[in-house]
């Protein structure tokens, strides 16, 4: 699924293939004609059989290997160009069909779009030799073909081909060419399994399909190639909308009149894994098909988008995206509420310290610290959003909380929490007397407040607060500048309580005066930090299994030793003791860091061994299993979760695992599918995006007998779930 940018090797491959194809064929090759070659294209007539049998149809094909950058055309070439033509001369009594056309690609050129093929393609046709042939005869096929091959300029080419095929009692397949023919057959459109409705209103039109396997999780891109020239605007984007079991493609009309009878064409779907499949569609134009209710929108094939390598385009939220100001408002609210979410618990300690340190400080200092903290939060949100956008632009599947899908990150955060806890317990000191956290987060200065804000964001992200889900989903579909604005708003919301202190530093005077209570508070707050470290190690155990956990624990030991050694060094009188302590601490830290690369390599634990998947009554989620259950007409409850998602865990404890809910599942024959996104798989990411979410949790209730799923809120209660379940 991850699509790396093309490496030089990948770019060289088509060149190499073309050069190889241009070489003279070694020896006599009866089953692939002598090629017609130019510096642009190498064409041959190929047969799928080494020997034909009397009366038995077989496939013949015009095999094209094109130089990089050059293309040939589909039966409807789009805005310009013409398709290849072939004329066969066959022995008496034999017959042949025309070409069967593999699904084309959109080939943009300036404001125009052509339909055709790049790199290599084989256009197959069927030849039926006469039944009167006898074994030992030779069946000779002669062909005259012409084709137009274009890059920026177009060159007409032609060739004359001849194949002498031996006749035997039974057909004998050609192993060497079988792969080419298989690939060609696989790219041919198949009969469509869906109900199709098609209609136009003025210049706007749409094709709507209904039936199984059309789902936002399965379909990444869709495009309809009209068989008839000019009926549709070849270059216009076709906006795609998807819901469970339904697909609607906008079809802007072209200038040519609609032909009488059904409109034909080929629908090409690209699935979540990047595989293309093609279907023959024929539908008589009628009324404009209705828009899908509650559908996600795919990025339509806008001009040039394909060639930019934009990667998977996420499906949007319900209906149209909300305006920017509303997304920002929701994001700010979500950020504010993030302060109260259970997964922020680990950093409550840090927040408490951040406030406590302001006690008794001068107004200017209060303002400075509050501003630094706010800046830390906002900039961290922007950085996370930027990395996320960059990863997705690279074709990755990064969702919100993506950093938790990397085991090395989780281990590193666990150690950081341990170090912060040890610091709060007084094992070592950093900075002034009321030190907070470790590393730069512990500096007494503004840098410390800034780093505290950053740390808070890093740890809090897996907690998508209810208000943030829609906002983040919408934000990722907006232009980059708008996306960043929404994330900045979220950061401002989260930092709002502290920003308030900056605006009214007098509020800090209400805090108790500094004194011994601060030391006590600090020591007590060490324990939430240890708890956070434990939680992170538990998350890690889900990802990397016992070996990885052991490595992470060893790292924790090293961090503990480093903290102790540093503390010794700080108390040492002599320079030598100080040196020894610091040296020991540095070595121990290096040892811990050395454990990180192997952790990143550790294969993930299989889903079956995960605590998060092992919930009684739950089956692991897969698109296939979901489709199967829905085909049976059963209602389905889908729970998308991850080991690092505390909100998910809480929901499962208080709502999903309650006796009342379990009984309801059993009584009403509701299947319970649980998807584990702990290591961020693309299939689940696609489902999340299809419902306008960038992270877990996501709860879907599919009604019995088909139809759209209901999306439940991110905070569940038992009564809420019971009400949402379909009646038995």
């Amino acid at each position: 699924m991850l699509r790396a940018p093309p490496s030089p090797l990948a770019l060289a491959a088509p060149v190499l293939a073309f050069l190889l194809a241009s070489l003279p064929a070694p020896g006599a090759q009866a089953l692939e004609s002598v090629p017609a070659r130019s510096e642009r294209a190498s064409m041959t007539l190929a047969a799928e059989l080494e020997a034909v049998a009397p009366g038995q149809p077989f496939r013949l094909g015009l095999k094209q290997v094109l130089a990089p950058g050059w293309h040939t055309y589909w039966s409807n070439p789009g805005d310009a160009g013409t398709p290849p033509e072939i004329g066969l001369t066959l022995p008496e009594g034999a017959s042949a069909t025309g070409f069967d056309w593999p699904a084309p690609e959109r080939i943009p050129f300036g404001p125009l779009v052509n339909y055709g093929y790049e790199n290599a393609v084989l256009l197959p046709l069927t030849v039926t030799p006469p039944a009167t042939l006898r074994p030992g005869d030779v069946f000779t096929v002669e062909a005259q073909a012409s084709w137009l091959v274009c890059e920026k300029v177009c060159i007409p080419e032609e060739g004359v081909f001849r194949l002498d095929l031996p006749v035997e009692a039974a057909p004998r397949p050609d192993a060497a060419l079988a792969a080419d023919f298989r690939a060609a057959e696989a790219a041919l459109p198949r009969p469509s399994p869906w109900n199709a409705a098609l209609g136009f209103e003025g210049q706007q039109g749409a094709l709507r399909l209904e039936g199984p396997a059309l789902s936002p999780a399965l379909v990444r891109e869709a495009h309809f190639f009209p068989a008839e020239w000019g009926v549709l605007d070849h270059a216009a984007p076709q906006p795609v909308r998807l819901a469970e079991g339904a697909l609607r493609i906008g079809l802007p009309r072209g200038a040519a009149p609609l032909p009488p009878g059904p409109l034909r064409g080929v629908l090409v779907l690209t699935d979540a894994g990047g595989t293309r499949s093609a279907y023959d569609i024929a539908a008589t134009p009628g009324a404009l098909p209705a828009q899908l209710a509650d559908a996600g929108m795919l990025g339509g094939g806008s001009l040039g988008a394909g060639s930019l390598g934009a990667g998977p385009v996420g499906a949007g939220p319900v209906g149209a995206a909300p305006p920017l100001w509303r997304a920002m408002l929701w994001a700010a609210l979500g950020g504010l509420i993030l302060n109260l979410m259970p997964c922020v618990f680990p950093i409550l300690a840090m927040k408490a310290m951040a406030v406590a340190r302001l006690s008794g400080a001068a107004r200017g200092a209060v303002r400075g610290h509050a501003l630094s903290y706010t800046a830390g939060v906002v900039l961290s949100f922007l950085a996370l959003a930027g990395v996320m956008m960059a990863l997705r632009a690279a074709g990755g599947v990064a969702g919100w909380g993506f950093q938790f899908t990397a085991p090395a990150f989780v281990a590193g955060m666990g150690w950081l929490m341990l170090a912060v806890g040890l610091n709060l317990s007084g094992v070592f000191q950093v900075g002034g007397p009321v030190a907070l956290g470790s590393g730069i987060a512990a500096r007494g200065g503004h840098l410390g407040s800034f780093a505290t804000g950053g740390l808070a964001v890093l740890v809090a992200t897996p907690c998508t607060a209810p208000f943030m889900a829609a906002a983040i989903g919408a934000a990722m579909l907006m232009p980059p500048a708008a996306t960043l604005a929404v994330f900045a708003a979220m950061g401002l919301g989260m930092a709002a309580p502290y920003a308030l202190l900056a605006l009214a530093p007098g509020l800090a005077n209400r805090l108790p005066r500094p004194g011994a209570w601060m030391e006590r508070l600090k020591e007590i707050l060490a324990f939430p930090m240890y708890a956070a470290a434990l939680w992170l190690l538990w998350v890690l155990a889900q990802q990397v299994g016992p070996e990885g956990l052991a490595a992470a624990l060893a790292g924790g030991l090293a961090v503990g030793f480093a903290a102790w050694a540093l503390g010794r060094a700080q108390q040492a009188r002599g320079g030598r003791g100080r040196m020894a302590g610091r040296g020991g601490a540095a070595l121990a830290l290096l040892a811990a860091l050395a454990l990180l690369p192997p952790l990143a390599m550790t294969p993930p634990a299989s889903a079956g061994t995960r605590a998060s998947a092992a919930e009684p009554g739950a089956e692991p989620w897969s698109e296939a299993r979901l489709a199967e259950l829905r085909a049976e007409g059963r209602p389905v409850f889908v729970n998308m979760t991850a080991a690092w998602c505390i909100t998910c865990k809480v929901n499962e404890r208080v709502a999903l695992q309650s006796d009342a809910v379990r009984d309801a599942f059993a009584e009403r024959n509701i299947a319970y599918l649980k998807g584990d996104w702990t290591d961020g798989g693309p299939a689940i990411a696609a489902v999340l995006r299809a419902h306008g979410r960038e992270g877990v949790p996501l709860y879907l209730v599919y009604p019995p007998g088909g139809g759209e799923p209901a999306v439940l809120p991110q905070i569940l209660t038992e009564s809420l779930v019971l009400e949402a379940l379909p009646p038995g």
Binding site: A80, V153, P156, A255, A393, P480
Partner: protein, 212 residues
Amino acid sequence: MAKLLSRRATLAIPLGAVLMPALPRLAWATPVIGAPAPDFAAPDQDGTTRRLADYRGKVVMLEWTNHDCPFVRKHYNSSNMQTLQKQAAERGIVWLSVISSPPGEQGHVDGARARGLTAERGAAPAAVLLDPESRMARAYGATTTPHMYVIDQAGVLRYMGGIDSIASNKVEDVAKAEPLARNAMLAVADGRPVERAVTRNYGCAIKYAPGA
């Protein structure tokens, strides 16, 4: 983290793609039959600016062309295009050949070369319009060379589409094809309705100037 770090090197490239806005179809229009044809102002082979409004009262034929395109060559090598141009001149129809290729692309010419081509080929257009920024092509939604448009005496678009009915680059097909553009041109000159007002234009893609 290492998983993320290892991708850092790849981040620089796609960031450019993220920041690149979606390419809009700049000023692209598909003109409508029966509606006023888009106005234009373009220099001809001698540098004189020609406007559609200059030809009010006359039928105008627009021919998009690129002398190196195989489809254009089919119609000039067979003398089909020159014959049509002469017929147009006899009937008082203004034939304008339009060249929309930008500098450096196939088909681009300056005024002198345009005059030379007309002389070499025995062509007889009323003028050759030079549109190196592809503005006129965008206004008319022209896609191929050749691409033909007929505009009536009142400036209303009456025909757009192919020069004839057989989409090939073979000279021998000219005689077999239905001369769609010719039929449309003569119908408009005679005041008859055009039987097929939009037909399939075929040929080489017009080499558009980048977003003017």
